[in-house]
Symmetry: C2
Subunit: 443 residues, 2 copies
């Protein structure tokens, strides 16, 4: 039974690269090592890679889980020298060059020659950790599925509600954070209410749905510049999204949020569903690694690295993607992909006896979808909005999905969703039922 897998045939004396994390950073590191004479171990706590830029489409019922989260083992099945381990990293011993992890409750130690840490980011609540319990995050597949249940469940609860005030609260969605994710979720929530849910209800009219987007800065998608920011604001406003710029969320509970505007005035917005798409800090691996290696972190917990992405104290350890603090790089998928590949190439250069090169980021641009046929795109100096921006979005995503076997599925879904009203993934499952059970009821 054992020993029939091909992994056991790999030469144990080969240089061993351990990669922690199967996001964009980890996956691109593995890809860059495909033909190299190394053996690779990839560790992740989920069994899937996550195409995070499309997470909002899972949350709003357009795509299914599998369409954005292929099994890592399957993506990397043609890497005979790569072994995937499903486990949670608990400690990194940089002196002994060992990763200590929890594999289904059992301890496991994996030694390494080189280590690439691509642990990603998690949400930060700016000192208000209590917000987490009453809002939906946008980082993991579970986040998206919970939000999906909340969205479609809220309309069901609103249809059953007779108190107009409670009904209005159920049909109000507050999105915190005006970056691409916040903008895309807000746009989709209005699309949903204006188009996809049309004629579905008898007691409520989904078009009355209130979508409030709250951003602390003075503009949306700030990284894309003033021109596209204004275009985004105009398009979202036309769609009926209520935008609060220069406003921060100062309180949040089950029933709503309190925002404080720049002039100091406060406004209470009753809302059943709160989406937290603001603020990121390094995932837990950042402090774990920094503590172990005596490395410095920035205020978001990211680990400071050498120009080649390696640790100053331990050059055989590389930190990439959202966990890496290096200059003023944007924390986007593109950075993770490029730095992951760079770390892999650096390891190979060392094995060839060559010095490593500093990491140079190539900005391939940013795209955010606003509505069905509208998007804003920034590619180098070019800034495009409207339908052309949307076409750019489509091309970019189809290109990136190429690595996925399921791009045909996604394309079909999109085609139906753009032309028609398609929101297939609306089934409320046990996950949602469990959430709506009243405390008084027996489980």
């Amino acid at each position: 039974m054992t020993g029939t897998g091909s992994g056991t045939g790999v030469d144990d004396r080969l240089h061993h690269v351990v990669i922690i994390g199967s996001g964009f950073g980890g996956l691109f590191a593995a890809r860059a090592l495909k033909r190299a004479k190394v053996r690779i171990t990839l560790i992740d706590r989920t069994n899937h890679h996550l195409f995070q830029p499309l997470l909002y489409q899972v949350a709003t019922g357009i795509l299914s889980e599998g369409q954005i989260a292929p099994a890592i083992r399957d993506v990397l099945r043609n890497y005979p020298a790569l072994r995937t381990i499903l486990g949670e990293v608990e400690h990194i011993d940089v002196e002994a060059r060992e990763v200590h992890l929890d594999e289904f409750g059992k301890p496991l130690t994996i030694g390494y020659d080189s280590l690439i840490v691509a642990g990603g980011a998690q949400s930060t609540y700016f000192g208000h950790d209590e917000f987490q319990a009453v809002s939906c995050g946008m980082k993991s597949l579970d986040d998206a599925l919970a939000l999906r249940g909340n969205i479609f469940g809220s309309f069901e609860l609103a249809e059953a509600e007779t108190d107009p005030e409670k009904q209005r609260r159920l049909m109000t969605f507050v999105v915190v954070g005006g970056g691409p994710t916040g903008v895309e979720i807000s746009g989709q929530l209005r699309e949903l209410s204006r188009r996809a849910l049309r004629h579905n209800y008898r007691m409520i009219d989904p078009v009355d749905t209130r979508v409030v987007l709250v951003e602390g800065l003075d503009q949306l998608v700030g990284s894309m510049g003033t021109y596209l920011s204004r275009m985004t604001q105009r398009d979202l406003t036309r769609m009926g999204v209520e935008i609060h710029l220069g406003a921060t969320v100062t309180d949040m509970d089950e029933d709503g949020v309190e925002i404080t505007k720049k002039d100091g005035s406060k406004e209470r917005i009753p809302a059943a569903t709160k989406v937290w798409a603001a603020g990121m800090r390094a995932a837990g691996l950042g402090p774990i690694l920094a503590g172990a290696a005596g490395a410095e972190t920035d205020k978001a917990g990211r680990v400071k690295v050498n120009p080649d992405c390696s640790l100053p104290t331990h050059p055989e350890v590389f930190v990439v993607g959202d966990l890496m603090a290096l200059g003023d790089l944007p924390y986007v998928a593109e950075t993770a992909m490029q730095s992951g590949a760079h770390a892999a190439h650096s390891i190979l250069r060392r094995l060839d006896g060559k010095p490593t090169k500093p990491f140079r980021y190539h900005d391939l641009g940013t795209v955010a979808v606003i509505s069905r046929f509208t998007a804003v795109a920034q590619i180098g100096p070019i800034k495009i909005g409207g339908f052309i921006g949307w076409l750019v979005w489509l091309v970019v995503h189809i290109t990136f999905l190429t690595g996925f076997k399921n791009r045909f599925g996604a394309l079909t879904r999109w085609a139906v969703s753009f032309v028609g009203r398609g929101r297939y993934e609306r089934a409320l499952t046990g996950r949602w039922v469990a959430r709506t059970k009243r405390p008084a009821e027996p489980a």
Copy 2:
């Protein structure tokens, strides 16, 4: 905010038909009433219709939830006189003609002029209710998602396991019940292990997966006759499914099952995953209705009805589908569809002052898929196996999915799954993690 839905515009004086259940019976009853001068209320405890014949494809990662479970509201959005209520029926007062339900913890009473009860079936464990806690059912979307997590999770646990005996147990799947569902699940589990998971693991070889199919009768898919039954047995055996005919499950726990063969000998099969695809009895609504209306039930809890599907004591109440006991009709989707439509037509005939007609079942045949390009089909006197049988399956399912907007999505998935190895929906989410957490660990 309220009153904007179109439902409130429906004339309250119209004959009110209440339908309980949005399965095949309820949906086809609603369809048959689309152009009638009645108002309709459809009650279900889920928000989706379920295309149950394809549930096994959700369980084995081929299709997503949304592809077989469209939102009922969306399927019926162009029925302005129909209102959908998401709630749990607790009591039916046939004297007052009222349905009492729990709508998100609040009581709701719906009066009716005519009632169609299409509550469906649930699994029966033949007096061994303790089997339910240690096996996966195959009735609801949650069942299928739990089984999916179990299947893909078991391979992960096996890959991490060093004890060969435990590893073997994790890679053994026992399917109880040799009807179409049991046959299809067994076939898919072998397909998965032989083809879809190839090269995915390093410590285990999925081809070693043991799939055991246990059936109490002397043949598989008994309703399809001896010829197809033998063909099914031959094809499954060739695929590596271990078949035990004339065997019953006499014990089942977390670690395996005990089967007792016809000669009285017992065999213990260690298996982490047990699929219960045997035995159906009427859903809870059967006893509720029978108690309220003084109706008789058969030993499976199904309610005995007049030849026109109405209750002998209360002719304004109809019972259809799996909840109905009428002659020796097979309990399949086709019966539910036809009896649901028949009940609706009977109501319309009465409104026209005409007598109702007895229900006559038209056998449109049965199909079960064995492997990628192999199926067995029985259509009237015609019995077909192999590739032609599979083509019949494809045509039948595409035809039925026509009512669904997502047939293109399903077709794409199938195309990729048949030609390639496509098992997209393998993402392990919180649902599975929660199951595998050890009791000792903090939540």
